[in-house]
């Protein structure tokens, strides 16, 4: 341990700043909170795959006599205005919400990676043009642009996914550009180039894999943000349509009963919030694990 105020190792400040966005500096080991978060996130993924089969009741079965039953033995989380079992709808709807979120992030990541890599490795002009386009994209409020695009394409979950992917990629493009440029200038790439490795091979085999860890940290952290916007779009009516059991649409469909039957709104929202928290914590955990400069903990 150094006794004087030795400056932190001169690792790229840009990358550190990008990665330290959540601010909670922790040691590298996995805490109880991390385990719970990992477990919850895993459970949510499982839910996306198996949810509809786990649902105790038919999520779409209308049962008007049982409408607005409070949580109890028969319906653990109560029923909505049409007598549908809320637990079953949450289990079945997780798939829709999570798949839509994953679709947005996957599309945005692919577009962002292609454009970011092109900007980093193309010439100055290519870089300049692409980055200005990104600036424009980042300068527009995502939810409003997505709302307009989705409304124009005709309200549906697909529209919402496409619209959101179209507004979300510039962030990834900028991240990938930074990462690729950093790796491009790193020593091992330099030595590979000296050894005569071709440019394409260099990008595919050496540059991209090294950039990926920061990228998947970012995608994990983005799950909650995208999920919130997707469900928000469903809530205002341009995403998943009634009677879909998508979580946001469930809240939208129950907004008139929110005051009289709180459970119709509370539980779908909790499902969103818990998933979002879990993915945020997992993202933080990944970030600390993959960034060696954050692992030491302590005051610096």
């Amino acid at each position: 341990m150094s006794t004087t105020t030795t400056p932190a190792p001169a690792r790229s400040a840009g990358l550190r700043a990008l990665l330290s966005r959540t601010g909670g500096e922790r040691r590298g080991h996995t805490t109880v909170v991390d385990r719970i978060a990992l477990g919850t996130a895993g459970l949510m993924v499982l839910l996306a795959l198996a949810g509809p089969y786990l649902a105790p009741l038919d999520p779409y079965a209308v049962n008007l006599p049982a409408a607005l039953t409070p949580p109890g033995a028969e319906h653990w989380l109560g029923t909505d205005a049409n007598g549908r079992d809320i637990l079953s709808r949450i289990l079945a709807g997780g798939r829709t919400t999570l798949l839509a979120t994953v679709a947005v992030i996957a599309a945005a990541t692919v577009i962002g990676t292609v454009i970011g890599t092109a900007a980093a490795l193309g010439g100055r002009i290519v870089d300049e043009v692409l980055m200005r386009i990104c600036d424009v994209g980042l300068s527009l409020p995502a939810i409003v642009v997505a709302l307009g695009l989705a409304a124009a394409m005709g309200p549906s979950l697909q529209s919402a996914v496409i619209a959101l992917a179209a507004t979300w990629w510039p962030g990834y493009a900028r991240l990938v550009r930074t990462l690729v440029r950093e790796v491009r200038d790193a020593e091992f790439v330099e030595s590979a180039r000296v050894l005569g490795v071709s440019r394409t091979r260099l990008v595919l085999r050496h540059v991209l894999p090294n950039s990926l860890s920061a990228l998947y940290v970012q995608t994990t952290l983005d799950v909650s943000a995208v999920m919130l916007v997707i469900s928000g779009l469903s809530f205002v009516g341009v995403g998943a349509q009634v009677p879909a059991s998508e979580w946001g649409a469930m809240i939208a469909a129950s907004r008139d009963t929110a005051v009289t039957a709180w459970w119709t709104v509370l539980f779908p929202g909790l499902a969103i919030a818990i998933t979002a928290i879990a993915f945020n914590l997992v993202g933080d955990w990944l970030r600390v694990r993959t960034d060696p400069t954050l692992r030491t903990g302590g005051r610096r």
Partner: protein, 357 residues
């Protein structure tokens, strides 16, 4: 300094052009006949043809783009098929109310997040820090519209602490001057109505502010930790400055540079998020207007709202950029550090992209 302003102005024009292009694309990606959409669902064949001619939809796309630019420049956002009034008039009438809501939410945001972020960074690892981080974690994960419905269901409906919806109590009114109920009540000298208006404003503003508080707390915490570890903090301490002075005049003053950028961008995002909040609390505003327009298939009204929110967003960012000149002396005169400053803002912009909700 001038080059900085010129650069920001150029960027603003570029982003405005981007925004207009995006909204133009929205008129183009319509499935089916845009003329029919413009004329309304129940329009007669003649009305549809009239709309087609008026909007130049029979002409080539580039020509349409140019005429679209011209119309937007004149403030012509088309006609709402639902109200049959110009979209710009409709939005102009509801916008002040949204500005009022956003202003209130921003005040709450600053009043909560600044102390929280500072205390959290200063008492790192202690109870106050954990509490602040919990607030940040929850705020970033809770859906805005859900929070609004839950607050309304419990605080208003169940416990009667706040009014359910609207701007003023039943039957009350103030003369509309600015369109912001609180301001109009003050202008009318009606303090009771002012209190009532604030009472109505409270829950929607808290709902709107929640997720932004999380982001500001988190960002301020991490920039503040960086600032507090800096040598100039130790130097300030070594001259005998009190902890208050060290933390506020030196630490917070430096951490405010990036934080103010975020607050500025949040002004625009908040205006966007009114989409999720206003209709829940029965408030008039551009957010509620666009939701209604979506439900009514009133495409030009939706696009008009997108355009107006986008323009306000862009203007807010420009103003904040100018504010940076005052907050960050390194931008004022050119110098060695300029490049570093530009990189910082790029990093921040990305940070924000990840945080938008």
């Amino acid at each position: 300094m001038l080059s900085f302003i010129a650069q920001r102005l150029g960027m603003m024009v570029l982003v405005l052009a981007g925004l207009i292009t995006v909204t133009f694309l929205m008129t183009q990606v319509l499935p089916g006949d845009p003329a029919r959409a413009a004329a309304g669902r129940n329009a007669t064949a003649e009305q549809v043809e009239g709309a087609r001619e008026r909007l130049g939809l029979d002409r080539p796309v580039p020509e349409q783009y140019v005429s679209y630019l011209g119309r937007v420049a004149q403030g012509d956002l088309g006609t709402s098929v639902f109200t049959q009034r110009p979209v710009s008039d409709d939005i102009g009438r509801v916008l002040p109310s949204s500005v009022e809501l956003v202003g209130a939410a921003m005040l709450i945001n600053i009043a909560v997040a600044l102390p929280l972020g500072v205390v959290s960074a200063y008492r790192r690892g202690r109870a106050a820090d954990l509490a602040a981080r919990l607030v940040a974690l929850l705020g970033a994960a809770v859906p805005v519209f859900w929070l609004g419905l839950i607050l309304q269901a419990f605080l208003s409906a169940r416990w009667g602490l706040f009014p359910l919806t609207g701007h003023l109590g039943f039957g009350a009114s103030v003369p509309a001057v600015t369109g912001m109920t609180t301001v109009d009540a003050l202008l009318a000298g009606d303090l009771a109505a002012f209190g009532d208006a604030l009472h109505h404003l409270a829950l929607p503003a808290v709902t709107l502010a929640a997720s932004y508080i999380a982001v500001v707390t988190r960002t301020l915490r991490s920039t503040m930790i960086g600032a507090l570890d800096a040598d100039y903090i130790t130097l300030a301490r070594s001259t005998g400055a009190s902890e208050w002075r060290v933390v506020l005049s030196h630490g917070l003053r430096n951490a405010l540079v990036p934080t103010s950028t975020i607050l500025g961008m949040q002004l625009g995002w908040m205006l966007g998020s009114t989409v999720l909040v206003e209709s829940i609390f029965g408030r008039v505003g551009v957010g509620a207007y666009s939701v209604t327009a979506v439900l009514q298939n009133d495409l030009y009204a939706v696009i008009g709202a997108v355009l107006v929110i986008g323009v306000v967003f862009i203007l807010a960012n420009f103003v904040v950029d100018l504010l940076q000149l005052w907050l960050n002396p390194r931008l004022r005169r050119g110098g060695r550090r300029r490049r570093a400053g530009a990189d910082e803002s790029a990093v921040q912009a990305f940070d924000l992209a990840g945080e938008r909700t």
